[in-house]
Structure formats: structure tokens, C-alpha cells
Symmetry: C2
Subunit: 265 residues, 2 copies
């Protein structure tokens, strides 16, 4: 039997601990190809590189594994994997991560990890983004691995007919304290942000983003609830941003006419 082909990527960069853990699990399940950014690319969302050329270099970081580092974004990595490296073959599964830190709730829209997985899902590849609620570069991912393997194995066996993208977040707990999986919606939480304001060595002002995550969506069907109660959250996600229930409510806009006074000035 032909082994499945698994594309592994991330947004923390190819030297991050999280991708190493993911590769170690993936190689137990199939043939693995790794294409990941050559430096940390957190918060890149669905950015793609249009204005400058991209570099792609083969690296010898993981024993027996074909791996490439890319100068672009996580989404660029997936596009290069598909179009340059794999050409005639779609992966059977794309896994992204394991991210150092949460991509639950609204974090998904900023997440390079999830955007890379989404990019593969747009091409019809069953795709999973994994994140671990531990922000340390030194994080120990061993508690994640048995759960990551169970989900990857299941996805390879059963596929993802109904939707081909899931956002998986893993609580920062010892393996024996993790209660299992919970399928949920993204909590309607948000960031309350500030910018740290300071001066550079030349006396010029700069701003640096900081903030705290606030969740007032306390129902028990959300990813935040699941994580706070010791579960791994699984949120089925999608790339179509159309707000379908809103379409009939906006239909009245079709009766608007052009405002010719706009031509003045």
C-alpha cells in the first residue's frame, strides 16, 4: 500500500520545537515533506509575498525527512510546496504547527499557522492546524503527541468530506490531565490592545503592539470553554467569509442609486 503524503508547515519557523514534534508524529504515519518559514512568522495571517522574490532552500534538519526553508510567509510555503515541489501530487494531509501559543477564538484570523492550513484546504487537502497553549520557545510538546497522532491517523483513514479544515488547540497540561477532544465553535472573544510607546536610540518615536485577551463568551460550546476545562478544542473552520444569514438583510441596498453629488471636488 502506498504511504500517505503529509505536508508539514508552521509559522514559528523551521527551527521551532513545535514543528519538530509534528514531524516526529507525521513520519510514523506516512511520507513527510516539510516546507516552513526560515524565521518566525507569527501573526502573518493569510499574507502572501507579491512584491519581492521568494527563496526556497533544502535543509538537513530532520533525519530522513525532505525539508525546505522558505523566505516567505506560511501561506507562501504551502503555495511553493504545491506548485514547485509536489507538482503532480496533492498531499493526503496538511498539518501546520504545533504553534507555540493559542490560536483559539479570534486568534485564527491573525494566525499564520491556521492560514497555512487554510491555504492547503482551499486546494482540497484535509488540513489541521495544531496549537499548544504554551508560548515558550522551550515548550515541551510531548503531551501533545498522542493526541496529535490520534487526530492525524483518523483524518488519514476517514478523510474530511464535509469540511476540510480544523483548528485544534491543546491545553498546557500533562498528558494524563487532558480530558480528550471537544468539537466546538470559536468563542466570540477579542483583544483589548494598547501600543507601548517609546523612543529608539536616535530619539524617534515608535509603537509596539501589546494587549490582553478578553473573553465574555462564557457558554460551554466554545473553544475557550473547552481549553479552560482541560479539553483539546477542535473548531471546524472554513475560508468562505460570506455572511450568508446577512444576505437577505442587505438586499435593500440593491435599490440604492448613485449619488451624483460625489463628482464635485
Amino acid at each position: 500500500m502506498k504511504k500517505p503524503l503529509i505536508l508539514v508547515t508552521n509559522d514559528d519557523g523551521i527551527t521551532a520545537r513545535g514543528i519538530k514534534a509534528l514531524i516526529e508524529v507525521a513520519q510514523q504515519l506516512g511520507d513527510v515533506i516539510v516546507v516552513a518559514p526560515d524565521s518566525p512568522r507569527s501573526g502573518q495571517g493569510h499574507a502572501i509575498t507579491l512584491e519581492i522574490p521568494l527563496r526556497l532552500h533544502k535543509v538537513d534538519l530532520f533525519e530522513g525527512i525532505e525539508a525546505y526553508e522558505c523566505s516567505g510567509t506560511p501561506v507562501d510555503c504551502v503555495k511553493l510546496a504545491k506548485n514547485v515541489l509536489l507538482k503532480d501530487r496533492l498531499p493526503d494531509l496538511c498539518v501546520s504547527g504545533i504553534n507555540h501559543g493559542s490560536n483559539a477564538s479570534i486568534n485564527i484570523i491573525y494566525s499564520g499557522t491556521m492560514s497555512a492550513a487554510m491555504e492547503a484546504s482551499v486546494e482540497g487537502v484535509p488540513s489541521i492546524g495544531f496549537s499548544f497553549l504554551n508560548y515558550s520557545h522551550q515548550a515541551d510538546f510531548s503531551a501533545c503527541k498522542p493526541f496529535v497522532k490520534a487526530l492525524m491517523k483518523n483524518t488519514l483513514e476517514k478523510g474530511m468530506e464535509q469540511a476540510n479544515l480544523i483548528n485544534v488547540n491543546i491545553p498546557n497540561l500533562p498528558v494524563e490531565q487532558i480530558k480528550g477532544f471537544r468539537v466546538c465553535r470559536a468563542a466570540e472573544a477579542r483583544w483589548v490592545e494598547e501600543f507601548a510607546e517609546a523612543q529608539d536610540p536616535r530619539g524617534q518615536k515608535y509603537y509596539w503592539l501589546t494587549g490582553r485577551f478578553v473573553n465574555e463568551d462564557t457558554k460551554d460550546d466554545t473553544d475557550i470553554w473547552a481549553l479552560e476545562h482541560g479539553y483539546i478544542s477542535i473548531v471546524p473552520a472554513m475560508h468562505d467569509l460570506t455572511n450568508f444569514p446577512a444576505i437577505p438583510k442587505f438586499k435593500y441596498l440593491e435599490s440604492l442609486v448613485a449619488d451624483s453629488s460625489a463628482m464635485v471636488g
Copy 2:
């Protein structure tokens, strides 16, 4: 009566023609503040800047208008506007664009224009992303202005209770040939991509993204259909990526158990 406050941003950069057209319309309707990238930031999606500090400089580009250029992404611009510049006051409306080129269909997920509008909508601000199907830096936006004004005026008067983000694309036609507005869903189209492969002056290989847009979703309720038939498309959009219909279908994953064989290797 207090004039409404309108935040204007874009992804083509503060010197683009499209933002100038948008500002000219906005200043007919309210007090305007402009915060836009200091260089083109197309394809930035929902990227935010985390690893480096941001610069924000007041510029004197638009007569009588408070305007700032920012070193970051379109989403950074909106965050800086909200947190640093406006502090105690939310805008009554955020408009982003007018983008040089289409953000219809799947382009929304890559679009800095739409991500900036989405960022404002997350904060509860009624937000509109405008795009014009003309990719030229020299594009003439005059045909857009009467329609842009009608939509902005309506939004300021009626608000957007049911959803607070719309994606508006304008066909590249003379004003008298534009048939009006059509409220629709995003077409399920996609990019078929390739990378141009070449060598830099030092003989090192590089890749540059190229591609063509392919739409096989030919129903008459999509944005692509509307644009091809002379209408301005309006797609109500949202930031919650949860695939709600898929939740029950994935519930069976809750019975999966950890695969302890993953601890080996």
C-alpha cells in the same frame, strides 16, 4: 449635529489614487482621519506586526484632512488608529480602499484592504472595503465615486445592525454603464498558480508568484456573476471562521482517544 467620524485606510499605500478618491467622498460626509501604509501592502491578509516596532508619521497630503502614514500592515493601521490616535472615540464608519484590483471571491482572504475593514468591524465599527476592477496605478476612480458615496451615506444613516462588514467590488466600466448594486455571496473560485523561477544577479535561484483566476461557480448569486454583468457586488462578510454546519459532523471526533505509540521516537 455632530458630524460622523470616518476612518479611511487601504493597502495600496497612502499615495495611491484609490485612497484619494475615497477621502474625497468621505470628506463630503463627515470628519475624516486617514491612517494608511507608507508603501504598497497588497496581499498582506490579516497580518499584524509583532517582531518589530511600528512608525506612525503625520503627513500633509490631503488638504484639511488629518492623515498618517504607518510602517506596518493595513491591520496595524486600524489598530494604531483605534488605540493611539482616536483613544476615546470609535469611528462611525471605516472605509478601506479603493483597492486597485478585485477583492471578489476568494481574494478576500489575501486582501489587506478587506482585512483592515474586518479589523475595524471586529471592534463593532460598520466597515466597508471598496475595490475597483482596474489594476493600474493610473486608474481613474471617478466612476466609483457616486456609488461609493451612496453606500457610505446609507451606512452612516442606517448603520449595519445585522452584520458590520461588507466587501464591495466595482466593475471597470463608465459610470453610465454600471447597472447598480447587487447583494451576493462570494463565488467559489480559486487561483491556479505557478511560480516564475529565475536566477538573481549572483546566480541564486528565486521564485515569484504568478497565476490566473479560475471561476467555475457560474450561478447568478455570486459576486463574480454580478461584476461580469455590470453590477457592483456587495458581499456581507464576517470574521468568525467557524464552519457551523460542520460541527455536528465532526462530533464523532470526541470519542477518539490518545495514541500512546506517538511517544516513541
